[in-house]
């Protein structure tokens, strides 16, 4: 079987078996209610704390951070759910190309990440009457696609932990909310202490969100090319390290027969 067909089958099976929001109620709860509530909370808090003129800063930041809903929760859950459903030993026993299998974990969630941000932006426009149409919309769309990929890269890294850790979903929760602190979602990264700013720029989303804010302000691709290149580099680095970890943990688990022993 070619790598392409393995990839396609893996993506399809991952969607029908492991995409945990593939029910109407599940999707409404975590892809509609959560974005509405998160944006509503941070916009109202931001207005209370800094004044009404900053509503768009909070709305846009939180709408973009919703990519992590898919990229972090979704990707980490693909490994965690394999364990829970008892299919992890079967997966690790298959001869399929590991890189293809590994990367397919992120595909559905990247698409879902873009959709989730779109839902967030539409809600922002409807509920808060915040209009981003005067900005560079194609560039904003590009930024959304890029950060969906890069957050999935981080998700792949921590998803590998699911091979040796029972409560990987706890890690997903922590990561999701830490991104709200570090990535310039609700306040500028410059407000963090120096060391934490280094951490911020070592994470996905930070540069992508900055680029998206500039796109909404009317910047051109040339203006934000450096930020987007940095964002892509960070995402690729996480995915690469994640793949190395995946192989290392897989080998460890196979040698000890520990595929689902944790």
């Amino acid at each position: 079987m070619s790598h392409v067909s393995v990839y396609a089958r893996s993506v399809w099976l991952q969607y029908i078996a492991l995409f945990q929001w593939a029910t109407v109620r599940g999707y409404v709860a975590y892809k509609v209610l959560l974005p509405v509530a998160q944006i509503l909370f941070f916009v109202e808090f931001g207005v209370f704390a800094t004044g009404g003129g900053n509503a768009i800063y909070f709305a846009l930041g939180n709408a973009l951070q919703l990519t992590a809903n898919a990229g972090i929760f979704g990707v980490i859950a693909t490994v965690a759910n394999e364990r829970e459903f008892g299919t992890l030993p079967i997966l690790l026993g298959s001869p399929a190309n590991r890189l293809v299998t590994f990367l397919s974990r992120a595909s559905v969630n990247v698409i879902d990440g873009v959709l989730t941000v779109a839902i967030g932006l539409v809600l922002t426009a409807v509920v808060f009457r915040i209009d981003v149409s005067h900005g560079n919309v194609p560039l904003l769309a590009l930024c959304i696609v890029v950060i969906s990929f890069t957050t999935a890269g981080l998700g792949l890294l921590f998803g590998s932990l699911g091979l040796v850790m029972r409560d990987a979903i706890v890690v997903a929760n922590i990561l999701y909310y830490l991104l709200l602190v570090f990535c310039g979602i609700n306040f500028p990264v410059g407000r963090l202490p120096g060391v934490l700013q280094v951490v911020a720029y070592a994470l996905p989303l930070t540069r992508g969100v900055e680029a998206a804010r500039q796109a909404v302000a009317g910047a051109s691709l040339g203006d934000v090319a450096g930020l987007l290149a940095g964002e892509i580099a960070v995402g690729v680095a996480y995915a690469f390290v994640g793949y190395l970890l995946f192989r290392a943990f897989e080998g460890y688990a196979r040698r000890g027969g520990l595929q689902d022993a944790y």
Binding site: R25, G26, V28, A29, Y30, V32, L33, L34, V36, A37, Q38, L40, F41, F42, E44, F45, G46, V47, F48, A49, T50, D167, V170, N173, I174, Y177, L178, L180, V181, N186, F187, R191, L192
Partner: protein, 253 residues
């Protein structure tokens, strides 16, 4: 007491319990304090930042841990044993919910420490007497919510997903991190129907000399709404009991 003791012991070995009372409140408090960290922030706003994270954690433990009091028994395969003992179900759920409340109160320790150490932020001018009563009323309202949600989550599994997905909305309508007076009219109507809202309002009023201080009315409203929740939940407990004992369908829901 046995339910309280066992539920507390189980929390010490559960990763999610630490997430709820320690990590998540600190993260929310940190975001709030960083947002507030600019010239011109008033003492009242800082107070919302310092106490808000703790309230978020307190609420989170209440509805996740205590609200899932029956649901967790189902997941652990101990539902039938719980119904087989002579102790009424609501007494067992009450013991577990109280365990959740005690655990949730711990949320205030790391968030207040973060405010003080990281941002030199204090809660000024606390009226200790009114603060203590308001906090007690808030605890009663959270207990009422936990007791009410427990049979709801057990009967309808999707209900937990909905409440979980709308968690940030609860912070909004209960005024946990900013006053509900900033909400539009329809939002304030929703907020007024929630028992914790009035207790939280009284709690924040006890930390400032500004604004109205209608403690008696706010406490009365919070307690009255809490009692309504508890009375309504009694019918649900009977329903749950019937599904478990008579039809034997509860474990299958």
């Amino acid at each position: 007491m046995a339910a309280f003791y066992v539920s507390m012991r189980l929390r010490f070995v559960t990763g999610f319990a630490y997430l709820s009372f320690l990590i998540f409140p600190v993260i929310v408090a940190a975001i709030g304090l960083f947002v507030l960290d600019h010239p011109g922030t008033t003492a009242t706003q800082w107070t919302y930042g310092v106490l808000g994270g703790g309230l978020v954690g307190y609420w989170g433990v209440t509805y996740i841990d205590a609200g899932n009091g029956i649901q967790l028994e189902r997941w652990n395969g101990t539902l039938e044993q719980v119904f087989a003992v002579p102790t009424p179900l609501w007494v067992i759920v009450l013991g577990k919910a109280l365990g959740g409340l005690v655990w949730g109160m711990l949320s205030f320790i790391p968030t207040i420490a973060l405010g003080y150490i990281g941002f030199h932020a204090l809660v000024p001018n606390v009226d200790a007497g009114h603060f203590a009563v308001s906090f007690s009323v808030l605890t009663f309202s959270f207990l009422a919510v936990a007791l009410s949600l427990s049979p709801v989550f057990a009967m309808w599994r999707w209900a937990f997903s909905m409440v979980n997905g709308f968690e940030f909305g609860t912070y909004v309508f209960c005024g946990l991190m900013f006053p509900i007076t900033v909400l539009p009219g329809w939002g304030q109507v929703i907020a007024a129907m929630l028992a914790p809202t009035w207790a939280v309002r009284a709690l924040y009023a006890s930390t400032t000399s500004e604004g109205p201080h209608d403690y008696a009315a706010w406490w009365a409203l919070s307690i009255a709404l809490s009692v309504v929740y508890i009375v309504a939940s009694l019918f649900l407990y009977r329903f749950v009991d019937r599904r478990a004992r008579v039809t034997g369908q509860l474990a299958l829901v």
